[in-house]
Every structure is written in C-alpha cells, then in structure tokens.
C-alpha cells in the first residue's frame, strides 16, 4: 500500500477526530467539551468532503457546526454554575464504564475487520446538487419527498415544543 496524499489527509483527519472526541468526553470543563465537539464535527465534515459528498459536508458544517454547536454554547453559558466541573465519579463506576466500553470496542472492531463486505470500489465523482435536489423532491421510486416532508413537520413540531418547554411560566 503506497502512501498517497489521500491517505495522509485521511490519517490526519482520523487522528484529529479521535483525539478531539476523546478530549470532548474526558475534559472537566463543559465549554471545552463543546469546543472539542465542534472540532470533531469539522473532522467529520472533512471526511464527507473526502468521500466527495460536498453537499453533505456543507450541511454538516452549516447545521452541526454552525447551528447546534452555537446552541450548545449558549445553553452551557445559561446553565453553567460553579459545581459543574467538580463532578466526581467513584472509581468503580468509572472502571465499569471504561471496561464495558473497551470490551465493546474491541468486539466491534474485531467483527468489522473480520466481516466480508461486498466488493468495494471507490468511485470518484462529485454528486451533483441537481441530482440531490431531484431525488429529494421526487415522489417516485428512489425519491425522498415523503421523508423530507416528515422531517419538515418534525422540525416544526420541535420549534413549537422547544418554545413551549423553555418558555417562562
């Protein structure tokens, strides 16, 4: 396996994602966790770009990195208090979580690497926005208008619900 630029980029992205993900769940300060999450989301977007799914990457950046993270930061600032970083976990539970996770991780990796997937081939080529738009709006076979509409209703419901819940009584 020769080292290509692609591979280098991938390795960088993979390391970036892994390190930031681990930092996001281990850091004591919640605001830093949110920041590391943002970096992970960036890395994920990078992966999408690398897969030639530019639209998906753009959406990832827009919605996740741009929208959700800002939401997080705001809510953290709204709810943060002195006790937040002082949370202490007793060692037993910590060990239980760690062991369970590591075991499961090992098992999953083992299965993933052992599994015989369909013959895979990477096809370069950008997915054009026109194709995406047509598929999204098409009601025929391989058309996604129904989930699209359902999602839009869901989002509406979430807006209403969010307002209702967070509204001052």
């Amino acid at each position: 396996m020769d080292i290509t630029l692609d591979l280098i980029v991938f390795i960088v992205l993979a390391l970036f994602i892994t390190v930031n993900a681990i930092l996001a769940v281990t850091t004591k300060r919640i605001l830093r966790a949110a920041t590391y999450l943002l970096f992970v989301l960036f890395g994920t977007a990078g992966i999408y770009f690398q897969l030639n799914y530019s639209f998906l990457g753009a959406v990832q950046l827009l919605v996740y990195a741009g929208g959700i993270t800002v939401l997080y930061v705001f809510s953290i600032l709204l709810t943060s208090s002195e006790g937040d970083q002082a949370e202490k976990l007793n060692k037993g539970k910590f060990a239980a979580g760690l062991i369970a996770t590591l075991t499961a991780l090992g098992l999953c990796l083992f299965i993933t690497l052992r599994h015989d997937f369909l013959p895979s081939h990477f096809e370069h080529g950008e997915l054009s926005v026109r194709t995406i738009g047509h598929a999204l709006m098409s009601g025929e076979k391989f058309g996604f208008v129904l989930p699209f509409e359902v999602i839009s209703v869901l989002l509406l419901a979430c807006i209403v619900g969010g307002i209702l819940i967070a509204r001052k009584r």
Binding site: L37, V40, I47, T79, A100, T101, C108, T112, E123
Partner: protein, 102 residues
C-alpha cells in the same frame, strides 16, 4: 486508495468514545454531547457504505442528511428540557434528578 475499513475503524472508535462519555459523564449537557458523537459516527458509516458499496444509489446519503436534520431537532428539544430543569433545580447534574423518579 483508502480502504473502507479505515473509515469504519474511525467511526467505531468515535462511537465508543461517545458511549464512554454517555456512561461516565454526570452532566446532562456533556451526555448530550456524547450522544452527538454517537450520531456522527453513524452518519459517517452511512455515507461510507453508500460511497463504497452502492455508488449508484443515494439512500445512505439521504439517511445521513436526514439524520443531521433530526439531530438538530433533537438537540433543540433536549436543550429546551435541560434549561427548564436548570430553571427548576438550579442544577443539571444527573444525580440531582431523582425527584422525577417518583
């Protein structure tokens, strides 16, 4: 040429890091962040499977797309709830949420 398994390894690690965070953090927001990690890893998997195994189709792609949308909605609602809890209890530590058990 990057093997598909490489991506899968990255997403698996990310997923279990998320699970680990979900199990060990006691702050509701931190737990929510962990959930985001899990969701992201799954999104990656969908995109990867679509690109490598079924290049002509769009299901995986759209699944990722919708998942992003739904996770945005879920986060919004969850944060609304958390803020509400904070308003009632001045705290968002899980161990203090036992009032709702009974």
């Amino acid at each position: 040429m990057i093997q598909m398994e490489f991506y899968l390894v990255v997403s698996t690690i990310m997923m279990f890091v998320g699970i680990y965070g979900f199990l060990t953090r006691r702050n509701l927001l931190a737990m929510l962040i962990s959930v985001e990690l899990i969701l992201n890893s799954v999104d990656i998997n969908f995109a990867v499977f679509n690109r490598f195994l079924f290049p002509g189709e769009l299901e995986g792609f759209f699944f990722s797309l919708f998942a992003i949308g739904i996770s945005a909605a879920e986060t919004a609602v969850a944060i609304a709830i958390i803020i509400n809890i904070y308003r009632n209890m001045k705290n968002i530590q899980v161990k203090n949420l036992r009032d709702m058990k009974w």
